[in-house]
Point group: C2
Chain length 195, copies 2
């Protein structure tokens, strides 16, 4: 995946302000959460473990210059109406969203758009495997939590976040390493395939 998305661009923009970020991320070589997932997916694909790809960021194109090939000269980033990742593992459909938080005690639900919740409900309805990968940046921990828990908390209405304690209890901590950086398929295997 060579194309950058809106978020990465924004991160690049703000990099100078976030002096602490580099220190906190030193453990994973300054790579972003997204880059870690992409690297893991590449490892999984190369080793025939599963096939998960990142959906390209949707772009709303306003103007294209055709005078020298096709050059986009005016466009906007669009919000993803689905999730960022999907693919196949042992014939089953896998669909997930990756979210990062700086919060140390809870995952705030504010940055999940309603259309993502709708999308994940449909995935579950059709028998797909749906989850969130949540990175607690300041704790350097990543958890897999089934989408149904997130949907439940999202729709209950009186809560604006999921406590870390719930995520620890209901979710699975992702093993971190060199290759793959985030061995999330091990958690998928444990949660959805072991009977």
């Amino acid at each position: 995946m060579k194309y950058p998305n809106g978020q990465q661009y924004e991160q690049k923009e703000k990099k100078e302000k976030k002096t602490t970020r580099g220190i906190l991320n030193a453990g994973n070589r300054g790579m972003s959460f997204e880059a870690d997932i992409n690297q893991s997916n590449e490892y999984y694909n190369d080793n025939n473990i599963c096939l998960i790809t990142k959906r390209p960021t949707p772009i709303n194109i306003v103007k294209v210059d055709y005078s020298h090939g096709a050059i986009i000269t005016h466009a906007y980033f669009e919000k993803q109406s689905t999730t960022d990742y999907n693919g196949v593992y042992q014939g089953r459909y896998i669909d997930f969203e990756a979210k990062n938080t700086k919060n140390k005690t809870a995952f705030p639900l504010a940055n999940i758009p309603p259309q993502q919740i709708e999308h994940l409900k449909h995935v579950i309805y059709h028998g797909g495997i749906a989850f969130f990968l949540i990175q607690f940046e300041s704790l350097a921990k990543v958890y897999l939590i089934d989408a149904s828990y997130v949907i439940h908390f999202y729709e209950e209405g009186d809560r604006k976040s999921i406590p870390l304690s719930v995520i620890k209890e209901e979710g699975i901590e992702i093993e971190q390493g060199l290759n793959p950086r985030l061995n999330y398929i091990k958690a998928v295997e444990q949660k959805y395939f072991k009977k």
Copy 2:
């Protein structure tokens, strides 16, 4: 799916030259093949039949202007390294590519990039359902053909196309209608789910 892709833009560009196109497409209200598939996917999603989405066209972003929000001012269309569509039906992973041809007797393999063949091989390896939807524009017919046949013809090397007769024999003709315009999931059901 509101964002246009590279192909649509090119089609728009060339529209005036293709005077016959409008006549040939009168049968499907001048809509493109892609629009027909997207409409069908919307129908399937609305009616809880399956969840298939189009991957956004990947864009290679060169320059972003941050002076008023984030405006992309220089970017290129990139070739899709996967396929255009994927999703879930009855828990199974579905992955397909849609191709249109003006040829009346065969489907030319020249417009399938090698990375698409690689991608589909991986889908098959991991137990996913992989196929092509091929529209013979001048015949106003659409067929589903399993990706393994296409891969076979692609890799045999001495053939540069798949004869229509083979597609008719090994594939399934897609029922066309108002809603959904292309009832391809009926062919998926018939081919991959009936035992």
